[in-house]
Amino acid sequence: MSLALRQVLAVVRKDLLVESRARDLLLSMLIFAALSLIIFNLALDLRGAVVREVGPGLLWLTIAFAAMLGMGRAFVREHERGTLGGLLLAPIDRGTLFIGKLLANLLFLFVMEAVALPLFAMLFNLPVLTPLVLLITALGTLGFATLGTLFSAMAAHSRAREALLPLLLLPTTVPVLIGAVKATSNAIAGIGGGPPWLGLLLAFDVIFLTLSYLLFAHAIEE
């Protein structure tokens, strides 16, 4: 196994171990997602065709805000505890560090979605537990988590870090969110995820991954 791969696994394993004991990141995402879906369901009382039109938007709104809550903590926690310096001292390529942090963020988001999707299906009575919707969710989450990891590293250095992440992340992930909502709507309506929406999601994932990998060193250092 190459050193880079061992370093990625070390970062992921460390983040999982820290979270399994701190329980502040995943728990806050889970509670936020569950509460949001329950409140949407009670407050909007959607029925019939309207729920098919509005439902995917509510689902992705919930995922996006819950993800921001969790990812915002990813580097802030490293920064506040002073452990970011320990990571940066190590001879780990910054792109490798990015991949490690991204994979850990993705795992946390997938756990949150493993709770949010069945809850959404139950509350809104929509068929979101299908392979196509799961694929769309995975691609949308990848795009969101990629930029989220990059921007949370940038925001961690700022005094206004809590406000900065949403200000950076929401506008830049608009293509991913639109693609995910449209593809989910189509999948629920039984007309497939795309083209063009599934392809668009995939394209943005590739672009965001490449850019974030290359820019991460500038975001994390100094």
Binding site: R6, R13, R21, R81, L89, P91
Partner: protein
């Protein structure tokens, strides 16, 4: 992989004209430093003199605004990973994850450095810094002095050629100050190059072969410890740093 520049390879650390600006504030100005292999240098200076900034630049945590840094012949701009591989840093911040035990912290950092035979190396270091009986306790529950000892072990986990110690005595009791001395002087571990910052003149003279005074971001004084006694160093410090040590 980058090759070391052989002209400078006999020096462990070499800085030439290193400057560091934070906006309008000059933290370091034209710092020229040369440290031979296995040499020990103590850097003294009042608060705000730039000691921690200099250590952060030497550790590659901060990029110099101007000038160059070479460690074991590797230029920090061209081969930062090679420089990082050769440096161990113990500072005010322990860089320990409070939720992880002392052992888990060392294993994590050892994996980042690709240390071979890691488990054995970690246990050896835990014995060395006298933490082995409490190795499974979460670091956040250890006392400050114990955390500092784990931080010293973390700095040594990859057996670096150069040890950077930024006021490493934080929280250490008398017994473990002796441990620190044995680490710095290469009695408990193989000797290596050491740069140590401290406010304690006695400790600087007793631990290091050379002392330097940093004031307002400039290295204003350097001398061999053997040629100094406490009174001479204190007078030089007062005169050049403009403050009592």
């Amino acid at each position: 992989m980058a090759e070391p520049q052989h002209a400078a390879a006999d020096l462990a650390v070499e800085t030439s004209g290193v400057c560091k600006q934070f906006g309008p504030h000059t933290a370091l100005e034209q710092v020229n430093l040369a440290l031979a292999r296995e040499e020990r240098l103590a850097i003294l200076g009042p608060n705000g003199a730039g000691k921690t900034t200099l250590i952060a630049v030497l550790a590659t945590l901060l990029r110099p605004s101007a000038g160059a840094l070479r460690v074991m012949g590797y230029d920090s701009a061209d081969a930062p990973a090679e420089v990082r591989r050769r440096i161990g840093l113990a500072a005010h911040q322990t860089y320990l994850y409070p939720e992880l035990s002392a052992r888990e912290n060392l294993l994590f950092y050892g994996r980042l450095y690709g240390v071979a035979g890691l488990e054995g190396r970690v246990d050896e270091l835990l014995h060395l810094v006298d933490i082995y009986p409490r190795r499974h306790e979460q670091s956040g529950r250890l006392s400050r002095g114990m955390q500092q000892r784990v931080a010293l072990a973390r700095a040594l986990v990859h057996d670096p050629d150069v040890l950077l110690l930024d006021e490493p005595d934080t929280g250490l009791d008398q017994e473990h100050l002796e441990l620190l001395a044995s680490l710095v002087q290469g009695r408990a571990i193989p000797p290596r190059s050491v740069i140590l910052t401290t406010h304690n003149l006695e400790r600087a003279l007793s631990l290091c072969e050379r002392v330097a005074v940093l004031a307002r971001g400039r290295l204003v004084y350097q001398a061999a410890s053997a040629a100094l006694d406490h009174a001479v160093l204190r007078d030089a410090y007062r005169r050049l740093a403009g403050a009592a040590p």
